[in-house]
Symmetry: C2
Subunit: 219 residues, 2 copies
């Protein structure tokens, strides 16, 4: 049986690059994608993910998660507070504690059901914005936990782990993902066209400038 992969596709620049990375490693008919509808302020990224999956003929799952709001305030899912990308307890206010761990566990659960053994996620510890669950040691520990907890072989691929934002842009170009960038969403405020003011927009802009590419989203 051929190896199958499940890509965690947020609809952003990084996870879209990961989808194209997966297309190089796996037969496209063996790739599926999963997007989480978790109350994100930038909900528009869900339809971006849908569009990107569809245009690549990738089977796409949307999993709802209604838990984060009950867990406490953060600036990314909190509907009550104004958007704020300042700091709180030495972490960005956009930090949703455990978000990537939850995503990986639900993705692994879906993979178990569908007999898929490979997960692909777009986390990077180079430009990780202060989110500890993007780091390689966290992802490695999570992989071990999932293998034990599901009693099932799960391999987590994080192809952007050691790339800077601009190196990710270069990789996207090499993988033929640049056209798809026009359909991705990055802005934390959920604005379209992007606000170009929030940390996520600024990080994206810097990446494209340093890589020497124009951002298809802005043209």
């Amino acid at each position: 049986m051929q190896e199958q992969a499940l890509v965690i596709l947020s609809g952003g620049q990084d996870s879209t690059t990961c989808l194209y990375w997966a297309k190089k490693r796996f037969d496209v008919k063996n790739i599926e994608a999963v997007t989480f509808d978790y109350g994100q302020r930038h909900k528009i990224e869900i339809s971006c993910a849908q569009q990107i999956a569809e245009s690549n003929n990738i089977s796409h799952h949307i999993i709802p998660i209604n838990s984060f709001e009950s867990l406490g305030q953060n600036s990314l899912t909190g509907s009550k507070s104004e958007f704020d990308d300042g700091q709180y307890r030495n972490l960005p206010k956009t930090f949703v504690p455990g978000r990537n761990l939850i995503f990986l566990t639900f993705a692994a659960s879906l993979a178990w059901q569908k007999k898929i053994n490979h997960l692909v996620i777009g986390t990077s510890q180079t430009d990780y914005s202060g989110y500890p669950d993007c780091r390689e040691n966290t992802i490695e520990a999570m992989e071990k936990t999932l293998n034990l907890g599901l009693d099932y072989a799960i391999k987590i691929h994080a192809p952007l782990m050691h790339l800077s934002k601009s190196e990710t842009v270069v990789l996207a170009a090499e993988l033929g993902a640049m056209d798809a960038m026009a359909y991705t969403h990055t802005c934390y405020k959920g604005e379209q066209p992007p606000c170009q003011q929030c940390e996520a927009c600024k990080l994206r802009e810097k990446g494209f400038i340093n890589a020497g590419f124009e951002d298809p989203l802005l043209n």
Copy 2:
């Protein structure tokens, strides 16, 4: 500052015993409890948990999780299928893949928000019903993952890990938790009085008989 603990309280026999275990180790005013409303067929356990927390003056959180049904069928949360505690891929059909990992991650996220460093969970690998995420190596790997992923000190206590069901009953008696057993819920079918036919009911019955106690729930 005194140490604080968050008990994952399902409203069942084991997690209630863990709440009483926590009361011996932590000041009762420093204990909180969390229950997950995840679409379980035996939803009645949520009000059991509420009642047990309230009667112990423990602050109680209920966190909704609407994700499991989208992840695929299992017999514990599937509303479409009949209840079935048979086997599927060498695991019980009541296995919800990754359930305890999700519970621990959300609990840790809540603990992070509330500056709590200790989690207490009632998993046991002795009578673990074939659920791999109840085993000690899974819990240890999860603890490491949470410490890294939240960049925060989380200690997971699983005081029932090496106890058989009957030893858990004896422990409950020693901890003064036996009266509270009358308010716990175990039956997978969600029946009250319990069906006494499902695997969960049978395991509970065997535990009480072997420990030489009458089950307060049945009297």
